[in-house]
Assembly symmetry: C2
Amino acid sequence: MSVLYSSPMPLAAASSNPPLHQLAYEKIRDMILYGDLAPGQPITIHGLVSSLGLGMTPVREAIRRLTAEGALQSTDTRRVLVPMLHVRQLDELSHLRLAIEPHLAGLAAERISPEAIDGLEAIDKGLDDAIEAGDVQSYLRLNYAFHRTLYAHSDSEIALSMADALWLRAGPSLRVVCGRYGTLNLPDMHEETIAALRKRDADAAASAIAADIRQGHSQIRRSLSEA
Amino acid sequence: MSVLYSSPMPLAAASSNPPLHQLAYEKIRDMILYGDLAPGQPITIHGLVSSLGLGMTPVREAIRRLTAEGALQSTDTRRVLVPMLHVRQLDELSHLRLAIEPHLAGLAAERISPEAIDGLEAIDKGLDDAIEAGDVQSYLRLNYAFHRTLYAHSDSEIALSMADALWLRAGPSLRVVCGRYGTLNLPDMHEETIAALRKRDADAAASAIAADIRQGHSQIRRSLSEA
DNA sequence: CAGAGAAAAATTTGATCATATTGTCTAGGG
DNA sequence: CCCTAGACAATATGATCAAATTTTTCTCTG
């Protein structure tokens, strides 16, 4: 599972701290991000209520939040589903990600510490292992972790939240690609990125991330046009 | 964006159609967008419940949604307030708006119809009147309407929703500027924009909107640094 | 009499509320 | 100055109502 709460107190009684709607949000978001929910799949509140073991209110609030972020879509008949990405929207996503993420990477390059770069390298190492093992779950988690961790060093709150929203929109489709082609032909530009970070070269870092995004999206686009 | 009710019956009885949480969302959003809520002002659920005359559940869901969009901010102590924009975040907003809105304007320029341009011109005319009359409410509404209407022609769902979110973040601060300086020294680049649209000149439209954004933000920045 | 299609019942699902529970802030006593 | 009661606000529950979908039933035609 993911790193949930950083407990300042090592003792018990930490489970009730975060509000349930927050917990529900994180769980559902992860389901979307890591492909447990397929594009086009309808979501029912009751289904989530029973599968998450939470009450109705927190789940509904989490759904509202995710809908606002574009991770879910509510139809005119008040039903909710995982959005299906069309080519048109995928191109939009590419454009927006290219407008935001390289910029974040550039800012991060100017601020990130050597230790944090080591951390990224460790993530990337795990990523390579996951690719070799064909472990799609881990691949998706670590790939996201790499980007998210890097961008977090940009110190740009708002842009970061927009990048998050964009990833949420791309998530389900990424999963579909992996399900179809496996993890083998998923090269990335992470090593180039890390090299740029070590040199504190903002432009190079931005370029590497841009290339990474282009690569990934061309995979998704190919997969989409075949379907 | 809002595919609300495609009424099969053109007659009345449409007041109960949209879900209350949707209604609550729109009302609160407008309060933020048009400056009825000041930056830093704390929000209480009960307050909104009684002032909007709605139940607690719809209001809560609307607040979650707005929080997800960055229009509201929830503290670690479970309290909600209108975010206060700091210079740092304002610069971020500028950068993001400049990355997205000129692009939307350019796309719109390639697609918009002459009739729609006339509509924009009418909005701009109303805007000038509002400025002369010192009517801040109308100014904010019409200024938003001008941009929003233009961008809607870009046919870019996702970017449009991000632009909306950015406006929501900037809204309260814009209002503060107007409250401080009135509407008189609020020049805009709308006429240049309209001219560019008539020529179907995407680049010129994008430049005009970029200039408009820079102007507006320099006003806000000045106001912020004085406070 | 078989089958297409419409009407109606049943079921599923979403929306909302009243209320109980839990957590947070505040003011006064130690 | 710290600590604790109580007032206040947010969170969460489960029940109830309404809308929508699916299934069933019925009728009418070929």
